[in-house]
Amino acid sequence: MSNLKVNIAGVEFKNPIITASGTFGFGREYDRFYNIEELGGICTKGLTIKPKLGNPPPRIAESYGGMLNSVGLQNPGVDHYLQKDDLYLAKRDVVVIANVAGSTLDDYIAIAEKINGSKSDMVELNISCPNVKEGGMAFGVLPQSVERVTSAVKKACPNKPIITKLSPNVACIADNAKAAEAGGADAISLINTLSGMAVNYKTRKPILFNNNGGMSGPCVKPVALKMVWDCYNAVKIPIIGLGGITSYTDVLEFMICGARAVQVGTYNFNNPYGARDIAKDLATYVEENNMDINDLVGTLILNK
């Protein structure tokens, strides 16, 4: 009998399709296109302890087979989330993952304590933000820093499984996966966006006001697949894979490389039904092959 359910750190998803943070708001907008309960899970927009205005425009630029964004974490703040969106999402039959970000370790701890009392099912740690107290290098670069922020959040938010979202802008992502695991992460998600820049040769200026941005979309898939496989061979905790997924076969590729579930991000902009369609196609595939989707995880056969 076929099965599409997956379980990550004790949380059951009706299917392995989760919408990626920052591409799906708090679910309300896409709920106007289809019932978001058709999804396995939803990752919220990145939340910060205080409301954040974010970067001036432009915040988005197209690239070949992808896009760059630099929103700068615009969000209403965690308190507003808890009063409004947390309750709205709690009513829906879909796993809710609260994505949190900070610019200091204390920020992460403070927001984690608040989320600990929320109705969300899990927490995703965005550690690609600059650590303002330590020279602005992102929390997600050095393994020791990945471990520190993960364990601090884990302590501050004991009620929720913690997913550490790893940055691909490192020499060895497996080291950071291990660091997250050592820090007590219940799962990891990868890849966050690749750092990039788009330039207007006429104005000689970067297209994004923030100059740099994060690249996502189908163009990054090969990088993401390799990193998921590298991490799968480095840690025991479950992996949520993302990076350029636009079809159910992409999902199969990520799961074969070791992902237990996946996130769909940029594709939502291209096709508002995208995440839902992928979930449907995946359901058809497992039925036709009468398989348990979990049996795919990490079954990559290396050539040798």
């Binding site: 591409t23 296109f33 964004n69 508002p272």
Partner: protein, 261 residues
């Protein structure tokens, strides 16, 4: 909130109407019946190397013919690809999106002011508000860039076309030409669409006249429905802090007095 839909539009026309400017007519089996002037359509390109949709204002529409008209300039690779599409080709289109223009009850006399391609927003406004009186001012860089004159002539009590270099119509910036006419026109509202520099000039030019100015903003967009927060625009509302709003939802039509330029 109302439900949204991604629709399939069939290209009925995709024709060059001026230098680097094209007019496209799209027909929809499931044509929406709630379009307002000032709203936009979010168009997906069939060329797979382009991931993002392109937002285009709905230049005009015809509920009975189930068509919308887009008027776009070929400025980048995306619009270049769009201009290459042939009649019969199908495009995925989300529409109508954005707030659109909703005149107050007391409004009778409307000035429509278009700067360059911004003029493409104007034709749909009389279509959705046929009861109002329109005085239209269109400004272009030069003769080669003049568009939509005929369309606007049909729906305007008065139409003035100007070019910066005087190669067609009156010579000079259309905002100044409008300013000169303001005293006798006494419009209830001025609706304008053009580049940001035009809005700055307009603000100054119409300062002496106590008239509400409504503008339509352009922005690079992601989702087009308010989820991704990339098409932000800074606004300052009376008694509020400066903040960002979403051009795709709170806009694209806004009070110029609230927009932080």
């Amino acid at each position: 909130m109302a439900s949204l839909k991604d629709r399939i539009g069939v290209i009925k026309l995709n024709q060059k109407v001026a230098k680097d400017i094209y007019k496209m007519v799209l027909q929809f089996d499931d044509m929406p019946d709630d379009i307002k002037g000032g709203q936009f359509a979010h168009v997906k390109l069939n060329d797979k190397s382009h991931i993002l949709r392109r937002p285009f204002c709905i230049c005009d529409y015809d509920i009975s013919a189930k068509t919308i008209t887009l008027c776009y300039a070929v400025v980048g690779d995306g619009t270049k690809v769009l201009s290459s599409y042939e009649v019969g080709e199908k495009l995925q289109v989300m529409l109508p999106l954005g707030n659109g223009f909703t005149p107050d009850k007391n409004v009778k006399k409307v000035v429509l002011l278009g700067g360059g391609m911004g003029s493409a927003v104007l034709p749909a406004i009389p279509t959705s508000n046929p009861e109002l009186e329109y005085y239209t001012y269109l400004g272009f860089a030069n003769k080669e860039k003049v568009v939509l004159e005929e369309e606007m002539a049909k729906v305007s009590k008065q139409l003035t076309v100007a070019t910066d270099d005087g190669s067609y119509g009156k010579k000079g910036f259309v905002t100044n030409i409008l300013a000169e006419d303001m005293a006798k026109l006494k419009p209830d509202v001025v609706f304008c669409c053009g580049p940001e520099v035009m809005y700055k000039a307009l603000k100054k030019a119409l300062e002496p006249f106590d008239v509400p100015i409504i503008v339509s903003l352009e922005a690079r967009m992601g989702c087009g429905i308010g989820a991704c927060l990339v098409c932000n625009c800074k606004v300052k509302r009376a008694g509020e802090e400066e903040t960002y709003v979403r051009v795709c939802v709170e806009g694209p039509v806004m009070k110029l007095s609230e927009v932080v330029l």
